[in-house]
Amino acid sequence: MTATVFNQQEIYKSLEEVMDPEIPTLSVIDMGMITGVEETGTGVRVKMIPTFTACPAIHVIKDSIQKKVESLGYENVEVQLDDSIVWDSDRITPNGKILLENFGLGTPKRHCGNFGIEEIAHSKCPHCGSEDTTMNSIFGSTLCRSTHFCFSCKQAFERFKPV
């Protein structure tokens, strides 16, 4: 079998189908986890960053990326953790934020590295869009979520934290 000719765009496109196991409607591209796709002498290198240091899904995600790229016919696929870039919630794409809301999660505003307690505590309700909400706890069911309550639709909801 001859190795597939390197096509960066095709690889990026395929990664739109590799989902975050904790939010299965969002891809690693939507999450801003991919930092590079490169041709090596003998194959392909995909560079990625975890959202949180203690992300328990990182090995699952790495394996999924590798299998996906291999399914395109590439050989010697290497998925490397990129320690030159720090993930933050600004890296979530605009499409990713829409998908988060559809999944039922509040979304973090763009903060450019500078945000305080007001931004952490306040989230728009992903169910009814109301701003009349309160934060119950800055921790939630996964590391990336905080828990909130909406006074308007009387629903509890979770929010993807600004990081």
């Binding site: 992300c55 320690d83 720090v86 706890s137 590391l143």
Partner: protein, 249 residues
């Protein structure tokens, strides 16, 4: 090189031991939100320990993170004694969390400009996560310090009990001068100073008082521990020790 290794071990062991202590609140929290909060923070801490052990393995060819975490002897661990103390009442855990996490946050903030690039890069990431730990601690300290007579008395008593242990976080190493000269880390003394400046107004806001006399509990950083550490280490390694070496999970 020994200086950086020593620093990394101190930090990693703090995170590992404290992460396990925090995880003991899983399923035991006074309210569900706190149960979740401690579980989340425990997960972060263990992740931070892993990240530090991974730098040791990658840059200094030490044993792998699992071996470092689960197969070292008690006197080889360099965590401060504050983090190893057994949990009992919730106020105790909360005040420890406040005292430790402020120091931890400032430490990583200082290290984010370290001349040792792998640690600087990791610290930039970790300090963003610790922001939430500190916020959690501050919220509860000020809330309970100002709530009822009982909650106030309990918080003050926990602060009195833990204060000298907290000062033990900053036990100087044999490498302070070298770390400072090589711009790796500004040292425990500067860290302690920044910590006092940061926590004093919050303690005041919580209507609590820093104990007037102090005598730091040192020893942990040199491998001297309380009798509360070994039972924890035994428990932590219970599963891994029961399997033959090389078992794949």
């Amino acid at each position: 090189m020994e200086a950086i290794k020593n620093l990394l071990f101190r930090m990693a062991d703090d995170e590992l031991i404290y992460g396990h202590r925090m995880s003991e609140w899983t399923g035991m929290g006074p309210i569900m939100e706190e149960d979740i909060a401690y579980s989340s923070m425990a997960q972060d801490k263990i992740g931070h320990a892993l990240a530090n052990y991974s730098i040791l393995e990658k840059e200094f060819q030490t044993a792998n993170p699992d071996k470092l975490a689960f197969f070292r002897k008690e006197n080889e661990l360099m965590n401060c004694q504050l983090v190893e103390l057994s949990n009992h009442e919730y106020d105790f855990s909360l005040v420890r969390h406040f005292l430790f996490d402020h120091a931890d946050f400032i430490r990583y903030e200082m290290l984010s400009t370290s001349s040792f690039a792998p640690l600087a890069q990791l610290s930039k990431k970790i300090k963003g996560e610790l922001k939430y730990h500190v916020l959690h601690a501050d919220t509860w300290l000020t809330r309970l310090g100002n709530a009822t007579d009982e909650s106030h008395a309990r918080m003050q008593s926990a602060l009195n009990e833990l204060w000298n242990y907290a000062l033990g976080i900053f036990e100087p190493s044999d490498y302070e001068a070298q770390l400072i000269a090589e711009k790796i880390f500004d040292g425990e003394k500067v860290l302690q100073q920044k910590w006092i400046e940061k926590i004093s107004p919050i303690i005041e806001k919580a209507n609590l008082k820093i104990p007037s006399s102090s005598s730091p509990v040192y020893g942990g950083r040199k491998g001297y521990h309380t009798d509360q550490l070994q039972p924890l280490l035994t428990e932590m390694a219970e599963v891994i020790s029961s399997e033959a070496e090389g078992t794949e999970w």
